[in-house]
Symmetry: none
């Protein structure tokens, strides 16, 4: 039995290496690759992904998994070996449904589509990416159709990112949340807006980067096993548990962009860095879902990163870094500036309260596209109309509209956005559980110490990688199924105080 | 027939993609990878290389090559299809002779040996690497023995880097060259040495890098299809014909290091960038031999890069970049400084005239080791004795002696050094042929124009990739077999004038 398990692990390590290599090539494409490298790079990434897929879906893997069933059944659910076999089987059964030629076609197409988007967005040229997006929609439907029996065409696509979640379950959660958010946004925006002018000054890029790096280093992001580079769109990627990288973008005229994006990505990265080292090279060595991943990025970016406690410690240092810009700005003014709620155009720059409305809008548009109720050519207009409905404003161009996010241009349509709001909901639930276990966390944050929180998250969430599903993890960590209530309590508490509601 | 050719190309593209991916991972390891990435990265590169080897040596590749023999024979030698089949067969027949287990053993051993060398060199500790080197010597002989029928045990090893060259042919060329170099070095070193103090000042790193980049951009190195980064040891690597990167190291106290290393690597890179785009993804898409590759790096670094003509154009710009350091230094002083000839210990810092003596010494020692006339334990002493004989000086330690070059510690013994001097010899022959075709080249260089030379090299050498062997290429380009005479004429002309011989 041990020999079979070792053979399975050797095969999985090969798959993991090919996938990790594809991610290195993708990271390089986003950071340092010269433009001339594009065409071959698309093909190379496709080759690596195709080989990984072929090797993972080999009949021998299926046979090994079958022969290991008695081993799995003889062990507790939580045992590492049982978990490895269980999670591998789940991934295997999904993977064998999709032909390798389709995987390669999709990878090649999204890589070309991404290249086109990098040109189209600054040029505000939706027309040039429209054919790519139409093809992406077609391929997304084809991908879903490899999983017959779904309730909604988006369900299989959502399943890739948030295993166990469906359009039906998400609609319930999102519906509940919307009901609570809309009056909150209305109550807040009916008042005098907070002033965030202090963030909108000249902040030299190098100092912004250095300060953000120092903050996430204190959070517990290990720079001996990671690094930060600049990209047009921030992301986190991992090549092994010992090499988990983040990227950011810097706005020399707005202090918040790089700072909070760095905190956000560090949350993703600490999750991946915190996985047990002996899971390396197996399907367990990855965050368990998009939602849980976002719960960590949003927890560190917002619940921690925009808290008054944290800035009691960091603000004097920030003032020291930018004395001319912030020396005369009181902490409270800064704290209110970074928590200003307003109806705005850009998701990644949106405040905590309106953010989820941005996500829900995209989720709805995805479903409409997949259901055939909306054509790609009508997407820019639909975007504007929904924005007007939800935010009472709308973008003048597509650059800040339908072209703003990379997701639809680099992945499938469907499955890409729900994780952000699921993550917000979970961040509230996880943080409340952490505070129950360690009521001293807020005081520690005010002293620039994040060790208790980081250790608790590592112990309860990070170390397990993909061993537990998101639903299992939420249940284990919070003692209850996923609920919006802790997150709503968090928002109402924080913004109730800020806006005297 | 076309279907079979397409199947061969598809298989070769897969191999090429795996090898290119391994090079991206290696480049990243040398430039940006955090320390924690090391262990997984070694495994990942090994996985990619192993898969590339397995896929290239698959029986189906051999069968396709057999079935394509009539196609090859029906076409002219120069036809692209015939060349693709011929060159692939040559590589295939070599690759299948070596068992995969031996390839893995050698890769594993040289990787460990390299690690040991990185510690041993700064510690001047030859004893600690001696067992590695003894094993390397043993493995090198074993590798050669997979190619029975060789005339000299080093021939198969040389064949990997410089196909078609043998110990016998190289000994003739090196013997002829030595006969002409020794009196030249004696005549030069009998005179007052040139003064290179102007190069040994403080030169800020960023300006050095920017200036070097501008020089190679003017040479014709296409930065839209390449880039330069910093590494401990400079190198060139290619991920596709559209993405060929160089690296450099900067010495803030010596202007020459980064500048000439950048020119050197740009020569390698322009060769790879100049290969016909439709060779992409095949064995034709690579420089044809180590010697031809070095002919390009050394041509741009020395024949062009250390010429008076070039500096007539660039020196005023260099003075503008470093006014405090060079504003008062006349062009002629600078020109003489960058062409100072002296007996020195370190190959990579040696001048054009003595450089080949460094190479020949290593080549001789390799042959003695492989022939069994020299034991590894006697190598440090043999190094010193030959150095004394050739240079009238000898290193006090092994750090600047037998430990100075990485080659024997990271590759086989045999095959690693001859390319440098073959390249120098070819650079003279190629440049003389270029001048015959375009006598205006020197005047263009003085005007900062390199287009005629670059186009001529691209037309005659670069575009062909590996289509022709080095010997065929030399014959086609110069109209004669490889001869040392053009190179000796070049050296005697330049240094005769500099030293009034």
């Amino acid at each position: 039995m041990e020999a079979r398990l070792n053979e399975l692990k050797a095969r999985l390590a090969e798959v993991y290496d090919l996938e990790a290599a594809a991610r290195v090539l993708d990271w390089d494409q986003n950071t340092y690759m010269p433009p001339g490298g594009g065409p071959a790079r698309a093909r190379q990434i496709a080759t690596l992904q195709r080989l990984a897929h072929v090797k993972f879906t080999a009949a021998e893997v299926g046979q090994l998994l079958d022969s290991l069933r008695p081993c799995e059944e003889s062990l507790p659910y939580e045992a590492d070996e049982a978990s490895l076999i269980r999670v591998t089987r789940r991934d295997y059964e999904r993977a064998v449904k999709v032909p390798p030629s389709f995987v390669a076609q999709l990878a090649d197409h999204t890589s070309n589509s991404y290249q086109a988007w990098t040109v189209a967005r600054p040029a505000d040229d939706f027309a040039s990416v429209r054919p790519y997006l139409e093809k992406t929609l077609d391929l997304s439907r084809q991908l879903a159709d490899f999983f017959p029996g779904y309730e909604h065409v988006a369900d299989p696509l959502i399943g890739y990112a948030d295993y166990g979640m469906t359009v039906a379950t998400i609609r319930v959660l999102f519906g509940q949340l919307r009901e609570r958010l809309v009056p909150l946004v209305q109550a807040i925006t009916a008042q005098e807006p907070l002033d965030d002018a202090c963030l909108r000054q000249d902040f030299p890029e190098a100092q912004q980067l250095a300060f953000g790096t120092e903050v996430v280093r204190r959070f517990g992001y290990d720079l001996a096993r990671g690094r930060q580079d600049k990209t047009p769109h921030p992301f986190t990627t991992d090549f092994s548990i010992g090499d988990v990288r983040i990227t950011t973008r810097v706005n020399g005229r707005h202090l918040g962009e790089a700072l909070f994006s760095t905190m956000h990505e560090s949350g993703h990265a600490m999750y991946e860095q915190g996985i047990r080292a002996d899971y390396e090279g197996t399907p367990l060595a990855a965050g368990t879902s998009s939602g849980v991943h976002e719960s960590q990025s949003r927890l560190w970016e917002n619940v921690v990163g925009r808290s008054r406690n944290l800035w009691q410690f960091f603000y004097p240092q920030l003032q020291g870094t930018f004395p001319g810009q912030l020396g005369h700005v009181p902490l409270e003014t800064f704290y209110r500036a970074i928590n200003k709620v307003e109806r705005s155009l850009i998701r990644t720059e949106a405040d905590e309260v309106t953010y989820n409305l941005h996500v829900m809008l995209r989720f709805e548009l995805e479903l409409d596209l997949l259901e055939g109720h909306l054509a790609v050519r009508d997407l820019p207009e639909a975007w504007r109309a929904r924005f007007q409905r939800d935010m009472s404003i709308a973008p003048n161009d597509d650059r800040d509209g339908v072209l703003q996010d990379v997701h639809w241009y680099a992945h499938t349509i469907g499955g890409a956005f729900q994780g952000y709001t699921l993550g917000n909901i979970m961040s509230g639930a996880f943080f409340e559980a952490a505070l129950r276990a360690h009521p001293e966390i807020p005081d520690e944050m005010a002293a620039g110490e994040f060790g208790t929180l980081h250790s608790w998250l590592k112990e309860n969430i990070y170390q397990h990688g993909s061993k537990y599903t998101a639903a299992e993890l939420v249940e284990r960590v919070t003692g209850a199924p996923l609920s919006i209530e802790p997150y709503v309590r968090y928002l109402r508490g924080k913004y109730g105080e800020l806006y005297r509601l």
